[in-house]
Symmetry: C2
Subunit: 465 residues, 2 copies
């Protein structure tokens, strides 16, 4: 939303509240139906639930349902409580089944039961079927609103059928051909149907090749298939090949955005919030953040343990301590670069488990190259500073060499572990996104210290240590 | 792609190569046309360009074009070079305009000119128009393949028009109503057209309300509109309201995935790769990684400078050095949590600039809470270890208090700066994703050290310091 849209929404909200205060019901109704239902839904967001309910009672049936579908789940839930039972029943019966599933799956069990009881027998059966599929499965996002035709029908027959049955179908871009039992046998684009002579048989348009989703598939797999096949809708079959629904690309856009949000949050070291930032209750968010921070903190405590072993070296050469943050952060940065690239490539299906050797080769070279670059910069910096100050003492050249060599080692190690950890996690059926980046940082910090002090022990032996 | 699909692809590839080696051309052709074009395209990926060209010469025209469209841009480019001019002309003329734009915009200027010259006058004009829109604009991803009707037409007239003009249209889910000049006046879903009596006028179906994209809009804005309005296609108008194309949801799925990939890579401290990991040339990838690592490294060099000022304190109390990695990494982790959450919420349009005060309040509380939790754990750890060892010396309690208090300060500071930096970057029209997470880490590391040693100076004054 851009700023002018925001201003517009605030103005609409003000008008709505004004009309309600004046109890000017006909004016309110006429004002609302002149608006686009998306705009009305957005304007309602900051209006009290009580006033929202008032407005919904005035709206014409169809317009009310569309507006209701555009509200976020949170507002829908509150509104359901504010409306009378008959109106809730009307809304729920008329909502598209996929939007209804999204609303119902967010509500507590007893409320769902109550609401499902308000549905007509047909809609109740649809709702119960959809809610019966596993969470995050294709079944939860599909809609049973599609058109099926039979191979032996002509175009005329098919169009007649569409005329009587196509009214509230979610998408008519593709129609589906099923056999006498209901098994999917082909998909036909509506433009094929509309551009041949009306006496043509459906079977003449069939090519016996179609792509379908399985109802129990994970919904992320649906997104991958949509990306691969460039479709705006895909049919959904049960395990026996019977057509049970369709998924449309608008829902897939939401799935992709939602999955990526989860991956991004996990890469940033937070448990996925599941709700928008501002709508997530403070305590829920705190828990999700604290849990990961504590895990990472406990991991990082190993650095204090490791440092304990080097206390003697530090006391002999305090100058070594000065470079600790620089060296471990370089390892962490190179590790998180590598793990981010690999985790994303995995999520997009670009990398298979078997690719790990190719990746290892590539990342080993990258790590050595990046490590050399940073090593040279680090070396130069120490030499340069020593030209002007006595900060690093008489053995500044040895220290410069130590810093340069440690950087080469730490960055190479960070790059390799960052790129390999996602493969290891996936091997053990863990989600690479959920832990790679933060784990890498912790692993690299501890081992980075060991690398640094080992290099120092070798190079500074006999001089500072 | 799952493993069995991969195996399948390898088998197909082997058969293809075998048939080519035997020079069994009819067998090859028949084998290919039995495959799904997506599967064929995927199997061709690892076959030499020369063999690919051989196969494409055998394929029936339409099947060849579909298969070509499913190849990735990289393979398309190579293949174009391997095919004869007449076949390239046929492919380019028949490709859907949006896929063609995607191919052409990836090629060097002179090649584009050559290829555009191969197009028929009509297709050439389309290609030149699409390439004339700014990079990353809606104009580059739209297709001019849509159906327009006029308000005064009846359904019969409209269906007749579709029958003659609808054959190669990308999507017929929605048809567009334009006035005599070509200005968009409404959009009508195809099921509305197909479910009313055929004598109905188009104007009877119009509600004079439609949502359109502007051709010069950023393509990410298109994605936001698709998400907001739940559409499978949206019309594109120029600034005067003339209809110039449509964008379909399958392309938007790609846009969302692409945008998120860029954001994820930038949050991981890499410049966006733009190509899949394995297809990005080694030197290009190295450059993109090195550039950010160097920037971060130079930032982190400030930690060495800061540490220089505390050299005296460290030499007096070496024990302080032991907790440096633990404390700065806790600041970094809490900062990257906060910045990731805020950057993603911004990308999804959940947070506006004006929300910064609300966010600040929320994050201040989160930071204090998270800092207290880690502070208590850190304190406990020092106390606990001191119960068993003499590692932290006689003043272990003061050290425990220092560590606990420093953690509270560093985590609170990390959380606040992590959440506020994205707002500051956006205020200056910089992309929050491109620099927040890595910048936060650097800022927090340097200030974290200062906080730690300042706290130590206060608490350990008179004992260790």
């Amino acid at each position: 939303m851009e700023t002018n849209e925001l201003v517009e929404l605030e103005q609409i909200q003000a008008v709505l509240e004004d009309l309600i205060q004046q109890r000017h019901w006909t004016g309110l109704k006429h004002y609302c139906i002149e608006l686009d239902s998306v705009v009305l839904a957005d304007s309602l967001r900051h209006i009290s639930t009580q006033d929202q309910a008032l407005i919904f009672r005035l709206l014409p049936r169809d317009f009310g349902i569309t507006t209701f579908e555009y509200l976020d789940i949170d507002s829908q839930t509150k509104l359901i409580k504010g409306l009378g039972q008959s109106q809730v029943a009307a809304l729920l019966n008329e909502m598209s089944p996929d939007d209804r599933t999204a609303l119902l799956e967010d509500l507590p069990g007893p409320v769902v039961k109550q609401l499902v009881d308000l549905l007509s027998p047909t809609e109740r059966q649809i709702a119960q079927t959809l809610l019966g599929y596993p969470e995050n499965s294709v079944g939860r996002v599909m809609t049973p609103d599609y058109i099926t035709v039979r191979p032996e029908w002509t175009i005329v027959q098919s169009l007649d059928y569409i005329r009587t049955h196509g009214h509230d179908k979610e998408s008519l871009d593709v129609i589906y051909v099923v056999d006498e039992l209901g098994k999917l046998v082909d998909d036909i684009r509506i433009n094929q149907v509309l551009t041949v002579p009306v006496t043509t048989f459906i079977s003449d348009l069939m090519n016996d090749s179609f792509v379908a989703l399985i109802v129990t598939d994970d919904k992320e797999d649906a997104a991958t298939k949509f990306r691969r096949y460039d479709r705006t809708s895909l049919p959904v079959c049960d395990s026996d090949g019977f057509l049970v629904g369709i998924v449309t690309a608008d829902d897939v856009i939401d799935i992709v955005a939602e999955t990526d949000t989860r991956d991004i949050q996990q890469l940033g070291g937070v448990e996925a919030l599941d709700d928008p930032y501002m709508q997530t209750p403070f305590w829920v968010m705190l828990q999700k953040r604290a849990r990961w921070l504590i895990v990472l903190f406990i991991g990082e405590m190993l650095t204090a343990t490791a440092m304990g072993f080097f206390q003697h070296e530090i006391s002999k050469a305090v100058v070594l301590a000065l470079f600790i943050p620089l060296i471990i952060s370089s390892g962490g940065n190179s590790g998180s670069q590598a793990s981010t690239l690999i985790v994303r490539a995995m999520a997009l299906g670009e990398l298979k488990n078997a690719d790990w050797t190719k990746v290892l080769k590539r990342e080993l070279l990258s790590g050595l190259a990046l490590g050399s670059i940073l090593g040279v910069i680090g070396f130069t910096r120490v030499v340069f500073v020593s030209g002007f100050t006595k900060l690093y003492g008489p053995h500044w050249l040895e220290i410069a060499i130590t810093v340069g060599a440690a950087l080469l080692g730490v960055v190479t190690w960070g790059t390799i572990s960052g790129s390999m950890l996602p493969f290891i996690l996936r091997k053990f059926n863990a989600d690479p996104a959920s832990s790679s980046a933060p784990f890498v940082a912790t692993i690299v910090d501890v081992t980075g210290l060991i690398i640094y002090f080992s290099v120092a022990a070798i190079i500074l032996h006999g001089t500072l240590l």
